[in-house]
């Protein structure tokens, strides 16, 4: 299921503006990788190029390549829709479809991909996905209620359930806990630990403790300078990044000496 992700000489643009330059990394399957760095350094932008969400914004485009188990996702024959079906994403703000019930939210992606599915099969998927997202016990009696009626933390887990219902290869998380309280955050972090057995996970976070808690590998991004594009400073084992990083800039950032 899980796949390896490689970025090769990625240059990411918004129209003519180069936002992130020359990113190269490899992410192993069934691992959690955290992207950290100051605001505006392009970590979310890089994350969004992994499932071709970047180009949803008008004028946004990419040079270089991203490979999924060696296969380019930017090849001319590749349909971005298929890429996004293989690589799930969870956003900063929980975004269940407001007009849909909890049940319909979970199966929304599945219905897109497979057309008509038997009710029993849908029921199974809903239960499996909600259990997978640690939400089943809390919502099993009100699956017909609107997804937007849940608390923020529950909504976010609903979004995770929606993302894993289609059994993606990779799960991208863009600051999934930044709108949540500490208890909900803990629930999501526990969830990430269990999800990594099946998926390759990349998580963008502003919270360095969180990066240290959940990830095996950490990538530190920073701007190359004022008015210059963002860049990947280094990527290494999380433990090493937080104890003995190779780059002085990383050390400055994680120890709080960052300007």
């Amino acid at each position: 299921m899980a796949k390896r992700i490689e970025a090769k000489n990625l240059n990411i643009y918004y129209s003519k503006f180069l936002a992130v330059s020359e990113v190269n990394f490899t992410i192993a399957p069934r691992s959690v990788t955290a992207f950290i760095g100051p605001s505006g350094c392009g970590k979310s932008t890089v994350l969004r190029t992994i499932n071709r969400m970047h180009e949803v914004i008008a004028g946004a485009h990419v040079q270089g390549d991203v490979l999924l188990d060696g296969e380019s996702i930017y090849g001319s024959a590749v349909d971005p829709v298929d890429v996004r079906r293989t690589i799930g994403m969870v956003f900063q703000r929980p975004n269940p479809f407001p007009t849909m019930s909890i049940y319909d939210n979970v199966v929304a992606g599945l219905k897109l991909q497979s057309g008509r599915i038997k009710k029993a099969e849908l029921d199974d998927t809903v239960e499996k996905s909600l259990r997978g997202a640690n939400l089943w016990e809390e919502v099993k009696d009100r699956l017909g209620k609107p997804g937007a009626g849940l608390s923020g933390g529950q909504q976010q887990r609903l979004c995770i359930a929606r993302a894993i219902a289609v059994e993606p290869q990779v799960l991208l998380m863009d600051e999934p806990c930044s709108a949540l309280d500490p208890i909900s955050t803990l629930a999501i972090e526990d969830l990430i630990q269990s999800l990594k057995e099946k998926y390759t996970i990349v998580i963008v976070t502003h919270n360095m403790q969180q990066a240290a808690r959940v990830s095996e590998r950490t990538a530190f991004f920073n701007l190359a300078g004022v008015g210059r594009p963002g860049q990947l400073v280094e990527i290494d084992d999380t433990q090493k990044i937080f104890s003995n990083p190779s780059e002085q800039r990383t050390e400055d950032y994680i120890s709080g000496r960052f300007g």
């Binding site: 829709v81 890429v83 479809f97 407001p98 007009t99 849909m100 897109l112």
Partner: protein, 376 residues
């Protein structure tokens, strides 16, 4: 706190947050008409009861270090009375219109020798009053609903094209042209409709009559071009801009999160529209359609020019390919003979029914929208 209570609170909080984000998404030119949760032009009273406001701190209840009582701020007060006044003004106006219509209509209805609701007669010039509205009601509703059925899908299509599909350079001119439709005076629509457009419909009418003529609705009744069919199409063009404008406004406001949620699940463009844009815009589009319907129900001059009135005593026909008179066109046709109060009262009674009808349509739409409120 019970479980239920805490859930309710959670929900209220979530709703308040949503309200707040809606508000912040909304630029200054926000128009009440485009309120995705409201219907019609009358400010929604439910909008006033949102938790966002309920949670807001009440000025004047400050305690402790800030004094026992908050300062009374003149600006707040003035503004509050101004807005309350504006709201009251509308209510008073509506009430006065209703009172006027009732006061003028009731004496005539009381003197009506036939049943006001079921009679097809309209004899008001002589000494005995005989008038009923059933024919007028049918023609009014048929032409307006037909117009709406034509206009709403096209309006949704135009709005989706402008907001989702067209490149920016094209979207603006298209939107502008559609808005321009609203600037054409209805007399022009009427003249165009009866002299140019309606005579060209023979082919379509004959075709529909040949294959669908067994349905009473499509049975050809007259060869005169002034049919409900022609009138309905012209009405559809007339109500197109308002429905399009509202649909466009609500579609444009689809929250970015909803759109991205659909993209990230691997939705195609159309699937994204179906998952995010259409459901988000639905209450607004319904309210736009109702505004359009209200406009169509009350449209006067274009319909008066186009529709040919059947001779009195002609048998009732439900067909689209038949003439007729709507409430508004009946009143307009008779405007020259408003010379005594009882006779005029008969026409005002027709106007009263139109007023109630429009009111009922708006209320019905609001119920439709509110029933699914939980999900919006």
């Amino acid at each position: 706190m019970t479980d239920q209570e805490s859930r309710d609170r959670e929900r209220a909080r979530a709703m308040a947050e949503r309200e707040a984000t809606h508000a912040s998404d909304t630029p200054d030119d926000y128009r009440g008409n485009a309120d995705p949760n409201g219907v019609g032009v009358i400010p929604s009273s439910s909008a006033l009861a949102t938790p966002a406001l309920a949670d807001a701190p009440v000025s004047g209840s400050g305690v402790g270090a800030f004094g026992a009582r908050g300062k009374v701020r003149i600006g707040d007060k003035v503004f509050r009375y101004l807005t309350a006044g504006a709201g009251m003004f509308v209510c008073i106006l509506i009430t006065l219109v209703a009172v006027f219509l009732l006061a003028k209509a009731i004496p005539s209805i009381a003197n009506d020798k036939v049943n006001f609701f079921t009679s097809r007669a309209w004899q008001v010039s002589g000494s005995t009053l005989e008038f009923g509205i059933v024919d007028l009601l049918w023609t009014t509703v048929l032409s307006s609903v037909f117009a709406m059925l034509l206009a709403v899908p096209v309006a949704i299509g135009i709005a989706l094209f402008i907001t989702q599909y067209a490149p920016r350079q094209l979207a603006r001119p298209v939107a502008f042209v559609v808005d321009l439709l609203a600037a054409i005076p209805s007399i022009v629509y009427g003249v165009f409709g009866i002299t140019v457009f309606a005579p060209k419909l023979h082919g379509i009418i004959d075709f529909l009559n040949r294959y669908l003529g067994w349905i009473p609705l499509f049975k050809k009744q007259i060869s005169d071009p002034g049919t409900v069919f022609a009138g309905g199409i012209i009405l559809a063009i007339m109500i197109l801009p308002i429905i399009t404008a509202i649909a466009r406004e609500v579609y444009e406001r689809t929250p970015r999160e909803n759109v991205e949620a659909a993209w990230a699940l691997g939705a195609t463009k159309w699937e994204m529209v179906r998952l995010s844009v259409l459901p988000y815009g639905k209450p607004g589009v319904i309210s736009g359609a109702m505004l359009g319907l209200g406009r169509a129900l009350g449209e006067t001059i274009a319909i008066t020019l186009i529709l040919v009135a059947p001779p009195s005593g002609a048998p009732f026909s439900p067909s689209l390919f038949y003439g007729g008179e709507t409430f508004a066109s009946k009143i307009a046709n008779a405007a020259a003979e408003f010379n005594n109060p009882t006779q005029t009262g008969a026409y005002i009674a027709a106007g009263l029914v139109l007023f109630v009808l429009t009111f009922a349509v708006n209320a019905a739409a609001r119920i439709v929208v509110n029933r699914r409120r939980e999900f919006s």
